[in-house]
Subunit: 154 residues, 2 copies
Amino acid sequence: MTSDHPGGARATPDDWLSIGEVSARTGAAVSALRFYEELGLIASERDERNQRRYPRHMLRRVALVSVAKRIGIPLQDLREAFADVPLDRPPSHQEWQRASRGWKHRLEERRQTIERLEAELTGCIGCGCLSMKACALLNPGDALAEDGAGPRRL
Amino acid sequence: MTSDHPGGARATPDDWLSIGEVSARTGAAVSALRFYEELGLIASERDERNQRRYPRHMLRRVALVSVAKRIGIPLQDLREAFADVPLDRPPSHQEWQRASRGWKHRLEERRQTIERLEAELTGCIGCGCLSMKACALLNPGDALAEDGAGPRRL
DNA sequence: TCTTGACCTCAAGCTTACTTGAGGCCGTAC
DNA sequence: GTACGGCCTCAAGTAAGCTTGAGGTCAAGA
């Protein structure tokens, strides 16, 4: 999708990127790209020399993978989130939007978790974390240590 | 744990938690706790039967480890961030504060990364991500794809 | 007395996310 | 023509973060 509308054909030669080009432009290692392909996270076609050729829209997928990696979300989750976005053609605006929204939701969750932790840690800084019972960091939402541990030195 | 204040000594028997107790109260698996100890992230003493005994303040360290894990920050980073906080005694208010602040900073960075990504993804949703050049997601701060890929539709 | 449960060690195994290495093809530059 | 760079495959290795398994100790309950 690069040149202007040569009209018609979906892919003129220039539309395709080699694995090295994709690597250079996304920052992902060549070996990582091959690996992502194995996982079905991205896809490529082959040229007459059996070399991978990537359509431009694949850059976006690679970027998503890098993002997931950067913030520690498992690639498997990414796969699920973008399962409905086609790999074999540029996704439609709508397809992309739908998946993006789900993914954004995922990011929001992640951010909120961190925000909560930040707040808790701020509390801990304030209290010096000497009050173990009150420390939210110590009681992460679920298993509250409430077995009457008795007084701690304050 | 559990009984109240037998008073005085820094460590009356009741002040110490078994590995099973720590596991129950932090949610970390027993095997994980042993692993964290190997890494030097937490520490324990032994009782007369060679079983691990954890001082209460260790719960906080375990909580920190769980947090790091939850948000995908490598344990090695945690180790560095809390390197100056002693393992062999309850950290002083000051020691804890200093390390906590560094760690909070780390959390903030993480959150900001995610916020940026969220914003970028929102942009992508808005634009349908058809404009590759403008897509921040595709150009994560560094390697900009500026090789004159020519106009894209839209 | 025997069993059960909680703990111990050490070694091996597993998952995720890749990297590295060996061996080989092809096209271009010197 | 040969060296080089970029690509290919397949297998093995690596690092992080644990879990699982084998084999053993000890104390308390039926």
